[in-house]
């Protein structure tokens, strides 16, 4: 079922360099999308537009057939979107539990346990956790937001291979088991292979490289 739709979306920096041109794509619940592309091609920009951090210069982005600009970008971010970043972006003076509680929709303890953090780890200062643990907290925060769309920008970029695999599996589970729409921007081919749909951004245009059938 389609939840997000991009219609003829275009974006340029300072009205000069056009980064995204005429992007039209439909994103569905229960699928994980990987967005590949060379550095500077606009992957993060695409994610920012979908997540309501910025507005497209052309076209619209619809969620449940409603223009996100009309429903309010802040509201859209709060209700519909959860971000996961490469550098985790946790708030350093809050514990994992408090970081997760920022989004406030689901009980933090349960969510943190579901991502594999112990009670003791939940009470530590986030800066004293490993990279993998911090990314789990970030995922827990995204899950606790109970958002239908999870946007992940290079979520395994700072992690070792084994941890990257674990995180990838979690994202897959978010899509398939929790029925979220997960969009992952990545350079990692291994991660991209785990996605249901692989998209490629090149010269501002998007194309579907691979699409797995239902049942995968």
């Amino acid at each position: 079922m389609s939840i997000l739709e991009l219609k003829n979306v275009g974006y340029s920096y300072d009205n000069k360099r056009k980064v995204l041109k005429n992007i039209s794509i439909s994103l569905e619940i229960g699928k994980m999308y990987a967005v590949l592309g060379p550095s500077g091609c606009g992957k993060t920009t695409l994610l920012s537009l979908i997540g309501g951090l910025d507005s497209p210069n052309e076209g619209h982005i619809l969620i449940d057939d409603k223009n996100i600009e009309q429903i309010g970008l802040s509201y859209h971010r709060k209700r519909n979107i959860a971000f996961i970043f490469q550098s985790y972006n946790l708030i350093d003076y809050l514990t994992p539990k408090e970081n997760v509680a920022l989004t406030c929709k689901l009980p933090p303890e349960q969510v943190l346990q579901s991502v594999g953090l112990t009670e003791e780890e939940c009470k530590r200062n986030v800066l004293k956790l490993s990279g993998g643990q911090q990314q789990r907290v970030a995922i827990a925060r995204a899950l606790a937001a109970d958002a239908r769309v999870i946007l992940a920008d290079e979520p395994t970029g700072n992690l070792d291979e084994d941890t990257a695999v674990e995180i990838t599996d979690m994202l897959k589970a978010c899509a398939h088991e929790m029925n979220k729409c997960v969009v992952v921007v990545t350079h990692s081919v291994e991660l991209a292979k785990q996605a249901d749909v692989i998209l490629k951004l090149k010269k501002g245009e998007i194309q579907v490289l691979e699409q797995k059938e239902a049942g995968r």
Binding site: T45, S74, Y75, R77, A82, N89, L94, E98, L102
Partner: protein, 446 residues
Amino acid sequence: MNFLKRAYLYLVRKKVKTLFLFITLLIIATMLLTCISIQTAANNGVVNIKKSLRSYFTINAKQLPEGLNEKILKNILSIDGVNGEYILRSYTKAIYLDNNKNLLKIKTEGAATIPLGCENAGKIIGSSNSEKDSYFIEGGFKVIEGNHITLDQKNVILLHRDFAYKNGISLGDTIVIKNLENPELHVEVIVQGLFMNTREQNVGMTPSYDLYENVAFTDIVTSSKLIFGKLNNVFQYGDIYVDNPEQLDNIINNVEAISGVQWEKCILTKYDQGYQNTKRALETLQNIVFATMIVVMIVSFIILVLILTFSVRNRMHEIGVLLSIGMSKSAIVLQQLVEIFIITVFALVISYMTSFLLAEQVGNSLLAKTTKEYRVVEQKNNNNAVIEKDSELEKEVRMSHIEVTISELDYLVVWIVGMALCSITTVFAMIPIIKMKPKNILSQMS
């Protein structure tokens, strides 16, 4: 998690930053409260000195042959603004005799001149209150036996101790004083007290009758008889005290409007220099403090904006994260405001104590200024004519202390100003962030 809880957690977990901001705000609040308290104290000081630094005017009726009498005095005392306090004075020279009409010896050693006819004469000062005479207040004279002369007394005299001892005179003895120029005018007086000088006389050109040992004080009735041959209180000089030094000019005009006196032959002089000097000192203090307060506020605003701008830039990461999870900009600004409010409240509470300790020290050191009170001193020649009026420093009124307290109103003003300053500077510091798109904030983060 709401912005209140986030604000609380930030403050308790980022202790160093919180403490730094707290100390900065404490210093600002203390300085503001100190300035305001000193300003208020200086304002009160101006009011208080009107009462405490007594101002008066002197009527010099020396040139009036008939002097000034009780009726005129009564008219003067009835003028609005005259507080009823006065000192009457008269001056003459008299020969001293014992009760057997034998001449008493005066001191002549050290005198520049012994004028003809003054070989046994001394200066007589008739006074309604000898204790307030300048010889006793500023001249270093001190009564060592007996009592001072007051308004209700008559036919009494205070003699210099050395003069009394030289002539074998004791308390209670009777002597005669005879007007040097008009020997028919003489009065029998009882020695009521003996005085001495605590400071050496700077003799210079002093004639014999002006040597300290030869000076005597009588009551105003005696001097009235001695000089004017009148039994009631007639006097040459009057020091009339007023309630409000600002009214002196007006009061003097009203005195000169009293009929029956040749005011053109009299000299009326106001003495409020002490009040004016102290008032000027306090007004200068007020101006300094006011200027300091403005500077403190401007500098505080700039410092706070810089500190908060720097702090907000350092929290760009946190702001970006909060925006990305759907927090509104207003909620983020509110968190910052709550943080600054909490710190400000603590700083303001403690500033009450710190400024209480500081205000009095600063206020007094700023006011370590001397006010000087000048008196006109008459220099007379042999013929009793005024030849010169000299200003002579006779009295120093040192104003080194002001009563500094922190009133509720001052404290409330500082609270309001402090809170307003912090709110404005916080919003000011947040403006650049608020104007940025979340994407740009996150770009800066990465």
